[in-house]
Symmetry: C2
Subunit: 284 residues, 2 copies
């Protein structure tokens, strides 16, 4: 493709539109947590161009009303559609829980949330008749989106749910390896270890960064399901099915936030080792 474009250029032919496969994937989240999804997309789809939007002016979504989360999500969707994305990944669990239908109504390109990929991975990990524990923000858990999605598959599993609101600030504090992180995880999760859970869904984008500690608290019997990993794998399949995979060597990345770009950039490096380069700001 690059060669072809170059030939066109040499021949004076203006390349008005990039080939569909070269259009970027749009990823959005309430803040920087969605970078765990970005990281998985980058790892599993190295050739793709990625535009990441973090709504840092209104983060977190987890304590906001469904109405507010929907309004915010639609604003961001309209913004990313202008970037000519070929696929929209809603990395935020809260927005995936509360706003996916509305986003799909607005979007002419496919929209992928993190709930269904997480559910599929959990069902692959738990035996028939087993128990799945869903962890997430208060809004995600209260929305019962994972429970409903699990029930909709018709699979015979029992679903338990637990909101863990302190996990996000612990991650953002950079305390993932400190004893206090484990103390908080025990406060939330020990009662469920006793209930002999088979799989635990990390139903918030920040939680993969606490995966080790959560696994230690839950014990070796419990499979930890990472929605970010599952969503990236699903994005790969979707693009392949539509013939939209970008097989380029190394795609570009662009980062846009609604507030405090320096903080975003610093935390992306501190927590995930991601070098964002210059982060743009789009205020709503």
């Amino acid at each position: 493709m690059r060669k072809k474009t170059e030939l066109f250029k040499k021949a004076g032919v203006r390349n008005v539109c990039p080939r569909p496969s070269e259009r970027p994937i749009g990823v959005f989240d309430s803040g920087l947590g969605g970078l765990t999804v970005f990281r998985e997309l980058r790892a599993q789809l190295p050739g793709e161009n990625l535009v990441y939007f973090g709504d840092t002016a209104r983060v977190p979504y987890g304590t906001k009303s469904a109405e507010a989360v929907r309004a915010f999500s639609l604003e961001i969707t309209a913004f990313l559609l202008k970037k000519k994305v070929k696929l929209l990944v809603v990395a935020c669990n809260t927005a995936s829980s509360l706003a996916l239908d509305q986003i799909r109504e607005l979007s002419p390109v496919p929209v992928l949330g993190v709930i269904l990929p997480g559910v599929e991975a959990a069902l692959a990990a738990a035996p028939a008749g087993g128990k799945v524990l869903v962890t997430g923000t208060s809004a995600t858990v209260n929305s019962r989106a994972y429970s409903r999605a699990l029930a909709a598959t018709g699979a015979r599993v029992r679903v338990l749910e637990k909101a863990c609101p302190l996990f996000v600030p612990i991650v953002e504090e950079g305390w993932c390896d400190r004893p206090v992180a484990e103390a908080v995880a025990r406060e939330y999760l020990l009662p469920f270890r006793k209930k002999k859970v088979d799989a635990l869904i990390l139903g918030c984008t920040h939680y993969p960064l606490l995966k080790k500690i959560i696994a230690r608290v839950m014990g070796p019997r419990v499979r930890i399901v990472d929605s970010a990993h599952a969503a990236a794998a699903r994005a790969r399949l979707d693009l392949a099915e539509r013939g939209l995979l970008n097989s380029g060597r190394l795609g570009w990345s662009q980062f846009i936030v609604s507030d405090a770009p320096e903080r975003f950039s610093a935390l992306a490096m501190k927590l995930l080792g991601i070098k964002t380069g210059k982060v743009s700001v789009k205020r709503f």
Copy 2:
């Protein structure tokens, strides 16, 4: 006054404006933390009418840019001024740190933040040459508003600062009395106990709810200064000086938020035992 109004009514005289002292005090915060200031105002000024605004659609302010915090604060100020308030109390430490000058430019009525009252109380608690530790959100600490205000008084104290971002979600989780709250407090504060601090300023509206635990971690030598208490005392003085105290028996309270009124109402009861009654919603 009530009797006089009734006499006017009976005589067919229309009471176009309430007497200046009967106008409400406007209080605002990024969310529900400012209810600790509301609680102090209600206790110290039982006759006052109080209008409380919590910006729950955009909470927390602590991780937002100064620009965003200023824009939000000015929107809320304009809204409260329409309610004919006689005094504006900026209960939010972040907004007090970053936006007080701008709010004062916009407001024809006096504006009171929580920083200066906290500073005055700390200076009363620490000896000359002593050490004051300021705790608060990242934004408040990074703004160095308390340090600058302490320095501006010319008092000979040494100021130390520590951001404690997990305190807010711990309070909102209702974990103030659990061991994990003390573990988090020790993580943040033990190094300062060793530094022989004389006074600690609770520089965030949520922190008074962790006062006991913070006092225990810091030890009996350290005076804990509650900015909410100090701000209400200062409001009382200001109103008295201007002849604007409402000496009525029991003032009314009104609560308005920008999102999720039921959650606000439930947490007001759970955390502070405040019965809000119906909470209105004003979206920006």
